[in-house]
Amino acid sequence: MHGIYYYLEPLFMVFLMLVTTAALYMGIFKADHTSTSFSKKIFSGIASGVFSMVAWSFLYSHHCLGW
C-alpha cells in the first residue's frame, strides 16, 4: 500500500462499513420509516453499525493476514 492508495484504502474501508450499516438499517431493521420510534432507530443504528464493523473486520483480517 503506497502512494494515493495509502489514503484511498482506509477511506474505502470506512465507506464499505457505512454502506453496510445503511443497508442493514434500512433492509433488515427497516428503521428508516417515519413511523419508527426514536428508540428503535437508535438501537437499529447501533446494531447495524456493530454488525457491519464486525463483518468487515473479519473480512479485512482474512484478506490482510491471510489466515
Binding site: E9, L16, V19, A23, M26, G27, Y60, H63, C64
Partner: protein, 385 residues
C-alpha cells in the same frame, strides 16, 4: 413534462444535479446494486471472498479443464454476466421493492460512463504483430458478420433492436458487447439478455462443430487458430474449438485472438451507425425501433471514440489503463446488477426461437464464408504456412 412544469422546474432547481433523485430516494436501489456487485465479482478494494466469481472458479477446479478451457469461461461468466445472473435470480425469486426503482434507474448513467472508461482497454497497436492479412481477415470478419446478421434479422422480421444486439455480439465475438450496445440502440433489457444468451448458445454449438469441419476443409493448424477466433464466439469458446483440432491450433488461436479483441469497439460503433442512418432514412416507419429517440450522434460516444483514439496512440500509460479497467468492472458490475434486477424471465424468452434462428443462420454463413476465405488465402500463399 409540459411547458408550465418545465418552467417551474427551471426556476426551482439550484444546479445541473437537480435532475438527479435525492440521495434518500436513490439509496436503497444503489445499495442493492452495490451489494450484488460485491457478492458477484472480486472487485478491487473489496476484501470479500464470498463471490460468485470465486464460486465459479472453485467449480471450474472441480469440473476440470475442457480442451484447456474453464467451463464457466466457456459459458461466458465474467464481470458483466455474474451480477446480471445474481440480479436476475434475486429479482425473479423475491421481486424488486418499489423503493429500489429510483436507484436502479442510475443504470442509464452508469452504462455510458462505463463505456467511455472502456476506451483505453483496446489498443490497436497490440494486433500489429499478427501481420497484414490476419488483421484484414479479422476486420472483414467483423463487418461482414454484423452486416449479414442485420440482413438476416430483417428477412426473418425480428425486432431491429434485438437484431442489432445479436449483430454486436456475433461480430465482436463477445456476447456481452450487447450490453454496451443497449444504451445506443435503446434496446429493452430482455432483448439484450435474450440476444446475448443466443450468441453464447451459438458459440457452444460452433465450438463443437468447427473441429469436426476443420479436417474436412484442410486448413493447416496455424490458420485453423485464426478461423476459430473469427468464427466461433467468445475467447474461451474459440480456444476450445482450436484446441479440439490440435494443440498447435490452440496455441495459434491464443496468438490471433488479440486481432479480434482490439477492434471490438469498431464493431458496436458500426452497428449503431448503420441502425442510426436507417432510422433517419425511415422516419415514421413504425417497424423501425433501433436507436429510439436519439436525434444526433451521442456526445458520450464521441468522447469514447476520442479516448479510444488517444489509447491507440499510446497516450495512456499501462498502469493507468489497468486502473481505469478496474473502475469499468465496478461500473458494469453495478449496472448489470440493476439490469438483472429489473428483468422478468418471460421478457428474456420473448421471440427467443426467432432470435436463436437469426443467430444460427448468420453465424453459419459467417463460418462458411471465413473458412472459404482463409482456405483461399492459404492456397494462394497470401497466408504463408
Amino acid at each position: 413534462m409540459n411547458t408550465i412544469s418545465t418552467a417551474t422546474y427551471d426556476m426551482n432547481r439550484s444546479s445541473i444535479f437537480s435532475t438527479l433523485y435525492s440521495l434518500k430516494a436513490a439509496l436503497p436501489g444503489l445499495l442493492a446494486m452495490f451489494f450484488i456487485a460485491i457478492f458477484s465479482n472480486n472487485l478491487v478494494g473489496v476484501p470479500n471472498p464470498f463471490t460468485l466469481q470465486n464460486l465459479f472458479a472453485w467449480l471450474d477446479g472441480v469440473i476440470g479443464p475442457l480442451n484447456h478451457q474453464s467451463f464457466f469461461q466457456i459459458m461466458n461468466a465474467n464481470f458483466v454476466w455474474n451480477p446480471l445472473l445474481m440480479g436476475l435470480i434475486i429479482g425473479n425469486l423475491f421481486g424488486v421493492p418499489n423503493a429500489w426503482k429510483r436507484g436502479l434507474s442510475y443504470i442509464h448513467l452508469m452504462m455510458p460512463l462505463g463505456i467511455i472508461m472502456l476506451a483505453p482497454h483496446f489498443m490497436i497497436g497490440h494486433a500489429s504483430k499478427l501481420g497484414f492479412m490476419p488483421i484484414l481477415i479479422c476486420v472483414a470478419a467483423m463487418f461482414i458478420t454484423a452486416t449479414v446478421t442485420l440482413y438476416t434479422g430483417r428477412l426473418l422480421k425480428l425486432d431491429d433492436r434485438q437484431t442489432s444486439i445479436i449483430a454486436g455480439g456475433l461480430s465482436t465475438g463477445d456476447p456481452h458487447a450487447g450490453v454496451i450496445l443497449m444504451p445506443l440502440i435503446k434496446a429493452k433489457g430482455g432483448q439484450v439478455v435474450g440476444a446475448s444468451a443466443c450468441v453464447i448458445l451459438f458459440g457452444i454449438i460452433a465450438m463443437l462443430i468447427l473441429p469436426l469441419v476443420g479436417p474436412l476443409v484442410g486448413i493447416p493448424d496455424k490458420y485453423f487458430g485464426l478461423a476459430a477466433v473469427t468464427t466461433v464466439g467468445n475467447g474461451a469458446q474459440s480456444l476450445f474449438a482450436a484446441f479440439g483440432q490440435s494443440y498447435e491450433a490452440g496455441r495459434y488461436a491464443t496468438w490471433f485472438d488479440v486481432g479480434r479483441h482490439v477492434i471490438m469497439p469498431a464493431g458496436f460503433i458500426y452497428v449503431f451507425v448503420v441502425m442510426f442512418i436507417r432510422k433517419l432514412k425511415n422516419k415514421g416507419n413504425t417497424n423501425v425501433h433501433a436507436t429510439g429517440d436519439i436525434k444526433t450522434f451521442p456526445i458520450w460516444l464521441m468522447v469514447f471514440i476520442f479516448f479510444w483514439a488517444l489509447a491507440c496512440l499510446h497516450l495512456f500509460r499501462q498502469p493507468a489503463a489497468h486502473a481505469i479497467f478496474n473502475m469499468v468492472q465496478w461500473d458494469f458490475s453495478m449496472a448489470a446488477a440493476a439490469l438483472g434486477l429489473s428483468l422478468p424471465l418471460r421478457e428474456i424468452a420473448h421471440d427467443g426461437i426467432k432470435c436463436f434462428a437469426v443467430t444460427c443462420i448468420a453465424g453459419c454463413i459467417r463460418m462458411v464464408l471465413l473458412l472459404a476465405a482463409i482456405l483461399l488465402c492459404v492456397k494462394t500463399g497470401l497466408l504463408p504456412a
